[in-house]
């Protein structure tokens, strides 16, 4: 089946079919409908390869997801795919473990696929100019910026929340309810990623409230996973139960923490309050319902694609979008009774 067969079937010129395929405006509605119907009926697959040779690059946008097992990313990916499709791009998804190097993975993806742009979903905040050069195409950091790197702001785009401010806000929810023995549950305080920044916000909120930092309440899990969070909280509770509030940097970690508290015979929020950042659907169904700072997941994905398309088309230079969370009140935040 070739374009000539489609043209013959519709009794139009090959160039007309070609114009329909390329969305040219100068085809009548009737002809366009007739050609599209024939394409569907004849199961004609346009030879995109030939088109790709004419345009300098492919029509794909790469998405590197770091820690794809986190359900937080699912609605973001869905929004990215929908926006890419609308704009005529193909999303090429590449999933790497939570601790892996997304820039190396991105560079490899650029080399092996025909990508026009890249979106990083979950990542480090310490990209170097050298790394960005290796990518060689426009990219958007979705959920991260670059506080710890030497990359110029003009060399990349980003869509993120203010992790320091949101970590501060989450901790303050506990402080305001009288908690002073407040733990933070995170992967690492030196991950150069969301954990490190939210930890800084946590420290600031404690300092502002005159609460000295107790490093035994800094629950580092190393791995960003539910089993690791569960083990870390369980290990603390086996030694001491001197904690009345936990700020988990992710909903998944909070859910694991609530389970660990439950298994240790502690009640949430009567004995220990739990707050988190994310707002995944699942945490609406935990018992009790999780109190969390909800991120605008769909908007994050949509913004990331919008920015990338603008940069690719030359409509605008790289830009940085800051979004805010909204408090999703649940049942895990209570007044400290100690």
């Amino acid at each position: 089946m070739t374009i000539k067969d489609v043209a013959a079937y519709c009794d139009v010129a090959v160039s007309t079919v070609s114009r329909v395929l390329n969305n040219h405006p100068d085809v009548s509605e009737d002809t366009c409908a007739k050609v599209l119907a024939a394409i569907a009926k004849l199961n004609y697959i346009p030879n995109n390869s030939a088109r790709d040779l004419v345009t300098p690059q492919g029509d794909s946008i790469g998405v590197v997801v770091r820690g794809a097992e986190n359900p937080f990313f699912t609605p973001v990916i869905r929004a990215i795919e929908a926006r890419c499709e609308l704009a005529g791009y193909t999303m090429v998804l590449h999933q790497i473990p939570a601790g892996a190097d997304e820039v190396a993975a991105g560079a490899e993806l650029v080399r092996s696929k025909r990508l026009r742009g890249l979106i990083f979903l979950g990542g480090r905040f310490d990209y170097s100019q050298h790394e960005a050069n290796a990518l060689g195409i426009p990219f958007v950091c979705c959920t991260n910026t670059n506080q710890f790197g030497d990359l110029e702001k003009t060399a990349y785009s980003s869509v993120s929340i203010d992790d320091f401010a949101e970590g501060f806000k989450a901790t303050n929810l506990l402080v305001q309810r009288g908690h002073r023995r407040i733990a933070i549950l995170l992967d690492s305080v030196t991950d150069h990623s969301v954990s490190e920044l939210r930890y800084a916000g946590y420290c600031q909120a404690l300092a502002d409230a005159g609460i000295p930092l107790d490093t035994s309440l800094v629950f580092q899990t190393v791995a960003f996973s539910m089993p690791a969070a569960f083990e870390r909280v369980s290990a603390y509770l086996a030694q001491s139960q001197d904690v009345t509030g936990i700020f988990a940097v992710a909903d998944t970690m909070a859910i694991a923490a609530i389970k660990a508290l439950h298994n240790a015979g502690l009640h949430v929020p009567q004995d220990v309050s739990v707050v988190a950042i994310d707002g995944i659907e699942m945490s609406l169904y935990t018992i009790p319902t999780l109190t969390t700072l909800s991120q605008p997941q769909e908007t994050m994905g949509e913004e990331a694609v919008s920015i990338l398309l603008d940069v690719l088309s030359g409509t605008s230079p790289n830009r940085h979008v800051r979004l805010e969370t909204t408090l999703r009140e649940g049942e895990t935040l209570g007044v400290c009774k100690n």
Copy 2:
């Protein structure tokens, strides 16, 4: 940056670089390493478009996910992507809502992308030969077969569990513990998909135990979602609490059911037992831990790709792989006290 620049940089022939790019065996290890290092250093992006013109089709495998918000699919997608990458294919992911028509979406994907094969993740069991013809490329149904359609077994491949048998098994877990007021929570008994088959297994298990079918205990949600499941169970409990066991066809639905039971003041499993099919990570952290028939998610994804690659290479014809669940014992299944 062209292939000539890479060749000049390495002081080798252009044809040598080409052989490295195409994984030809007749290049020495040293030369291969030198060329790959140069490609990385110079950030050379091979012109795949040119290669695609030589081979008749692209190197992409489409994956149509129906109901991507279900975390069940996440590990399956990860396994599919990893296997595709290993084999040198690009996974093109397309996510559609739970109720949408995946075959139409697949046909559209085949038309718009250069696909060599398709994997359906979650889908109907009633494909017609006509629909399959419209796809025009080999495809694997992952999680579904074709009990209700007229598609020849030789015209497609599948990787699935025996939904009837697993529905029977799940219901029987409740029957064996003395339950007789057993509800089933599913999207629809006539969805021509997993729900309909697992419902048939449920009916069979009840019949074998001499328990008459009570249609008021058939909780159809219409939408395959957590909010719908929560609402449906809550609505029943508001009218009647005459139920001691619930078999949910998915872990997500079971989690929503447990929440509804909790909100109605009922305890799991003391008042109502809950079992499900899936085995997602999240249901290890529910309170209480969900008892569920765990599907081999990674294996499903890997098998789907293996079969598709065999069919594409002509190594073997279409085939059908049946996998089994394993019981993941939790805390939601108890003996009936009524």
